[in-house]
């Protein structure tokens, strides 16, 4: 019975847990509920993975109403991979959340924080698993509204304006998405994506469908923080509480990327149609600008959290670069980097949360000499930073390898050169942190520092270990990504 209901349970478990946290309104109980719910959700993702590997695409009819009339949850190789990333990153982050949250908030606020966290998780998992276009919009709003609240709970007062800015930009993005979905519905009379995927290819040259394409491209690009539409991201990640930064950096933009792939490859009719639109060319140009501009801005940041927020924009550039190539290797690179970047960035933001917890600041100047005082925390940041650069032996190398491979496949040597130079810029900002943290005298504040508590270090080190593990053994991550890429290119659903 349980296996049959896994698609529903995937979303329902965190959805039920969220009001429970709000009902009990105790920090510890809320945290316990969040941990159990998140781990169960992760278990459900693993169960779904096994089911998809064994029996192919799973379809689950909500309320027993058969698709395409009813809402359908549809799981295939592409979204099960994203489900694993989202619930997995959450499952590692949530044990970490206890220490910092308990130190800052009273019981009620802690419980609300976990409620919001679980709602964000529900929304992101829902967007990923659902096969209904309008349902996507609903879940997107659930996750976005919950994220705004989480960001606004940041320590810095500027978190409020950051959350407000994200709210405005996020709402504009969501509106564009719903207009796009509305146009598709007007043209086909269906909201079921598998059904849309059958009907759209016949009419994908008509004006309304092309308009829908444009609206969806802009709306989703806003959500995934593609270069000129990324303005909400740096402040939101910089001023949010550590847990929220780590969780959103690891999952929110990744789900938006999945959404992009789902719409443009699956619904509009495979790689062939996508290649015939101007979107790949635009994505190529914007991705390159993102890789350079955002990395360069990151180098000059004084706040380390903001630095890595800009780095996220650059890394999203690497993923969209892979998407723009419309090839097997390119999409594999995008999917692998989606996975690897989620792990690395979540880990970095968690460790920065540990620094914030001890030092009360993540300004670069305040972090002088803390490499000696918090050796494990800083070593973790350095290893994950090396992963971002793409050093061999880390998972970042695997992603870069596949992107370079995809570029070489098309004989685009200039692109290979650009990717390598962009990686060098990453090296500069990671290098700045290493220089300040290890080679400068500790500031007066840093002298009395102690290592971060184990409750924070252990979860972060799970991600550090994963970064190294997936750099050495790529069978699992690349294997799944390749299967997802093949399914995307073929446009099967």
């Amino acid at each position: 019975m349980l296996a049959a209901h896994l698609p529903a349970l995937q979303v329902v478990i965190p959805l039920l847990a969220a009001p429970l946290c709000a009902l009990f309104r105790r920090g510890f109980i809320g945290w316990l509920i969040a941990v159990v719910a998140n781990w169960l959700a992760f278990a459900a993702s693993i169960g779904l993975l096994f089911r998809v590997m064994n029996e192919g695409v799973i379809s689950y009819a909500m309320g027993g109403w058969a698709p395409p009339i009813g809402i359908e949850y549809r799981v295939d190789m592409i979204n099960v991979f994203v489900l694993l990333v989202v619930s997995g990153v959450g499952a590692v982050i949530i044990p970490f959340a206890r220490t910092g949250t308990a130190a800052r908030f009273n019981d009620t606020d802690q419980a609300w924080f976990y409620t919001m966290y679980l709602l964000a998780l529900t929304g992101l998992l829902g967007v990923t698993i659902t096969g209904d276009a309008f349902n996507i919009f609903v879940f997107l709003e659930i996750s976005s509204l919950a994220s705004y609240v989480m960001i606004a709970m940041g320590r810095d007062r500027r978190a409020l304006t950051a959350a407000y800015q994200y709210l405005i930009m996020g709402t504009v993005g969501a509106t564009f998405i719903v207009i796009g979905i509305g146009l598709l519905w007007a043209m086909t009379g269906t909201l079921n994506m598998a059904d849309l995927a059958q009907r759209i290819p016949e009419i994908n040259h008509t004006r309304p469908v092309l308009a829908a394409l444009a609206f969806l491209a802009v709306g989703i690009s806003l959500k995934l923080a593609l270069f000129p539409l990324h303005l909400w991201l740096p402040n939101a990640y910089a001023y949010a509480p550590a847990v929220a930064s780590a969780f959103l950096a690891g999952t929110a933009t990744k789900v938006a990327i999945y959404l992009f792939l789902r719409f443009f490859y699956t619904v509009f009719g495979g790689g062939e149609f996508f290649a015939s639109t101007p979107i790949p060319a635009m994505f190529l140009a914007l991705s390159i600008v993102a890789m350079f501009a955002a990395s360069t801005v990151a180098v000059f940041q004084a706040d380390v959290k903001r630095m890595f927020a800009y780095s996220s924009v650059a890394q999203v550039g690497f993923i969209t670069l892979g998407i723009s190539m419309v090839s097997d290797a390119g999409l594999t690179a995008a999917m692998v980097h989606l996975f690897n970047h989620a792990i690395m960035k979540a880990g970095i933001f968690m460790l920065l949360g540990a620094v914030m917890f001890r030092l009360g600041s993540v300004k670069l100047e305040d972090m002088a000499g803390i490499g000696r005082k918090m050796p494990f925390t800083m070593a973790g940041i350095v290893i994950l930073g090396l992963g971002l650069i793409g050093t061999p032996g880390t998972s970042g190398f695997v992603s870069k390898w596949w992107i370079v491979l995809a570029a070489l496949e098309k004989d685009q040597w200039w692109l290979v050169a650009l990717i390598l130079v962009a990686s060098l810029i990453t090296m500069i900002y990671v290098g700045r942190i290493v220089e300040v943290a290890y080679f400068r005298e500790p500031s007066a504040k840093a002298v009395t520092l102690r290592e971060a508590p184990l409750m924070m270090l252990i979860p972060a080190y799970v991600l550090v270990a994963a970064t190294i593990y997936f750099g050495l053994d790529t069978e699992w991550s690349v294997g799944l990504a390749q299967r997802a890429a093949a399914a995307l290119l073929a446009g099967t659903y």
Partner: protein
């Protein structure tokens, strides 16, 4: 202060039962006609909000205390989501109401009523919570203005 306006107080007292009855009508008629838990919840909350606007927010909080409002918000969501879990335990897909009664049609009736009750609870309490938060701020501002006025008078 509205508290001194006799006409408003009498009219509101007369209107309140009508608004609440209308809310219940919309609630239980939702499956046959326009309406449902969301609209009914807003109408019911509007009754309490009107009462609060005329008789003061403290009086409204005597009728529906903050503590209850804060409990009702998650409770409604739990009822909705829990209904779906109940269908699962009865061997059907999530939110399939058919097994709730001996005949599937009756089961669907029962299911939609329970789910709409959940929606009603959450929507009504959320509206009230928003009103209490903003209304509470106005009271605080009034108090501050009063204190400032007193100080000014003494000086």
């Amino acid at each position: 202060m509205m508290r001194d306006t006799v006409i408003l107080r009498v009219v509101v007292k007369l209107l309140l039962p009508a608004i609440l009855i209308f809310a219940l009508y919309v609630q239980f008629h939702g499956e046959y006609g326009p309406g449902g838990g969301f609209q009914a919840g807003v109408a019911a909350a509007a009754a309490i909000i009107l009462y609060g606007m005329i008789f003061g927010i403290d009086e409204a909080q005597k009728v529906v205390p903050r503590r209850i409002v804060n409990t009702m918000i998650p409770l409604g969501v739990l009822i909705f989501a829990g209904t779906g879990v109940a269908s699962m335990f009865l061997g059907e897909n999530y939110l399939n109401y058919s097994p709730f009664a001996s005949k599937p049609v009756n089961g669907q009736h029962v299911g939609i009523l329970v789910v709409e009750a959940g929606v009603f609870i959450t929507v009504a309490s959320t509206m009230l919570a928003i009103f209490y938060v903003f209304g509470g701020r106005a009271d605080e501002a009034d108090q501050r203005a009063d204190e400032a006025g007193k100080k000014g008078g003494e000086g």
